[in-house]
């Protein structure tokens, strides 16, 4: 039985990032994309904390503080993102990103 080390955390972070990325890329629902973005941000949070615990000097809280900031930022981002989605809906009567392609050539 091996002890859980840094690579395990990084694998989890990478898996989370990948899942978020796939969600963002494949989802046609704007709210779903926002959710994918949350996954990506949280994957970063896992990495911050893991690196803080294993690489930086023990007892410091730099990674954790950074994660807190990211969570706050994610909350703000979700708020703005949902507002944008609402505005999109009002304009297009849909939140399918395939339909909202006014910025093409």
């Amino acid at each position: 039985m091996t002890t859980i080390g840094l690579p395990h955390f990084l694998i989890v972070g990478a898996a989370l990032f990948s899942l978020g990325m796939v969600t963002v890329v494949t989802r046609r629902n704007a709210v779903g994309i926002l959710m994918g973005v949350e996954l990506i941000l949280n994957a970063a949070n896992v990495n911050f904390i893991a690196f803080n615990h294993y690489v930086a000097a023990p007892g410091t809280l730099t990674g954790q503080v950074f994660s807190i900031f990211v969570i706050v930022l994610a909350a703000a981002e979700a708020a703005i993102g949902l507002a944008i989605v609402l505005a999109i809906y009002q304009t297009f009567h849909t939140i399918d990103v395939q339909e909202t392609s006014l910025l093409r050539e």
Binding site: M21, T26, V97, Q98, L103, R104, E105
Partner: protein, 793 residues
Amino acid sequence: MEQTDNIARAIDVGWLWLIPLFPLAGAAVNGLFGKRLQERLGKRANHAIAVGAMLLSCVVAEVAFWKMIAAAPGDRFFENHLWTMWRSGALKVDLSFGLDPLGMLMTMIVTHVATLIHVYSTGYMADEPAYWRFFFWMNLFAFSMLLLVMGSNFVVMFFGWEGVGLCSWGLIAFWYEDLEKAKAGMKAFVVNRFGDFGFVIGLFILFWSLSGIWSPETNRYIPERGLAGQVMGASAEPARVSRSGTVLGPTMEFRELRNQISDATTGMAERLRELTFWGFPLLAVICILFFVGATGKSAQIPLYVWLPDAMEGPTPVSALIHAATMVTAGVYMVARLNFLFALSAPAMTVVACVGVLTAIFAASIGFFQYDIKKVLAYSTVSQLGFMFIGVGVGAYWAGVFHLMTHAFFKACLFLGSGSVILACHHEQDMRKMGGLKQYTPITRWTYLAACWAIAGFPWASGFYSKDEILWKAWTAEGLSAPWLGHAIYVVGAIAALGTSFYMFRSYYMTFTGTYRGAAGHEDKERLEDPHAMAAHVHADEAVHAPSHAAAAADVHQVPHQHDASHGAAPDAHAHGGVPHESPRSMTYVLVALAFAAVVAGAIFGWPAAWGGGSEPLLERFLAPSIPAAELVKFAEPGRATEYLFQFFGLAIAALGWFAARVLYLDAKSTVPARLKELLPRAWGVVYNKYYVDEIYQATVVRGSLLLSAIAYWIDQNLIDGFVNFMGWLGRSLAYVDAAIDKYLVDGAVNGLADLTINSGRALRRVQTGHIQSYLYGALGGAIAFVIIQYVIR
């Protein structure tokens, strides 16, 4: 000679420019507004302006004259500098007027005779439709002539010289609708161009020769043999001033030229004497070139041919331009440049010989002419020849004296002939005149007086001037060969005999006998025999119609003089009336000129040999202008010889008069007609003026036309060919250039533009508007970045 150092110093007189100004102003008014004035105010306005301008000019000239008389002889150089026209190196040309005694005399003659002839013209031209144009040209002529005589430098003189040529053209061809008259005007103009060419070239060489190597140590010119090198002033150098204070170097001013040549301390005279030009003596070249100009303007051999044709102009024009003033310009110029001519014996000889040849040649043509104006024209040519004898042998004052007396008597003769022509209803052929003495008494007496003067009978002016010229010719010592003077005297004396003969011939043919005009015949024969009349009129027409087309055109062009102002002959309204005396505006002028013609000689030229204790008045007056009088030497055979020669002069005049009287009085003698039949060929040659016009036609005119044809051919084929080739070359180059421009330059520009457009068209597909495709891009980029990082590491 009162002058000690022989240097002329100018006195500034600020108002001399007024003398030519008035005629110019008159010409300007008549030229610009004359037609409207004539329509609104009548012809009176035109001639009031023209005559008024001449009178004002006359008054100013008089003031200048009396001011000159009051001045000491050494102070008689009036100058009036207006402004500098241009300056270039050593060449400085001022618009300035100068009056020395010679110029003053000419100015007086020009202004006074011109005024008289303007007055005469008001009568002669009264029915002319283009009255204003006539007076425009006349005033412009007076202005140009005054520029010519008053110009203080060659350039102003040349302006006048060309100006009188222009006015001469305009006035000879005044009735330009007649082709013959237009041609005559053109002939005068073109022939004068030949002369002007000589004048200008002479001036250039003279200007060139006045530079030279100057030694500041001795204040003298260093003699050179050939004329070479630069004209002074091309490079900056200090002014050259002689010890006497004369400024030296190339100049256009007559007075400065005179001073540097007359002033012995400058060495200029010696330098000029020794210089050669292409192997010829420089002075002779210059003087002969100037004289070529004089032969054109003053109608000497070989350029005299224009003057007889110039008689196509109105008669007052013939009197003013072609007798009294313009044609004397050449004599005036030679007299003006006396200091140059006197230095060169060959030049003097050429002038005198051409003069005497012209005198005899023209006189002989004058013998058999029937056109009264042609007689006077050849007489003018002949008398101008006498003037050139005078200035040629070095008797400058005598030449100028004859110029003055000739201005009076020839103007009188021409105006008299104008009066006669008018009296005979524009008939110029003397064969159709005759018996006019009872119809036109004033004209007759004035004409007789002028004949008396020109023939050289004592106490009339021609005697003094012609005798002086011939006497000086006999005693001349300045010519190339000692016998030349005697030869010139003999030939000149024969010419004088001819003068007397043809003048009295014209007088007897015109004024004595019975009136032979067509109208006179008609009147007489109508009374006598009605049948003969018809035949005669018919014959008359047949004879006159071809030979007098010009006269007929004259009648056509100038509506007759028979208007209300014409009180003398109220019955002469119809074309066929009897001859009549001319209006007073004409006869008064005739009387004035006849008076001058008779008395001027005795006043101005009373010979020293006849007592009175001094040289003739005119000689003393002109002395300051003629420094060369000291250079030219004459023999002094004594009083007795001089009296003898004066008697010869009288005898010659009397002989000519007697011959004319015998042959032509009352048209009784049959000798002239028999002579004509006896020697038809000789008569024909002389009557046709020795076929000189035809020779000129065959040589000069034909040559010129041939030359112009050659030039035309060269122009058409060589020059145009070259030009066309250059054009073709340019066009071909332009094609190449256009191709380069089109395919290379434009290709590059368009290619770039196409590239931009196409790449833009390709790239804009990327902009799908689908946010997820952008994400694919970002993801792909990130992955590619990672891979590149991995590979490079």
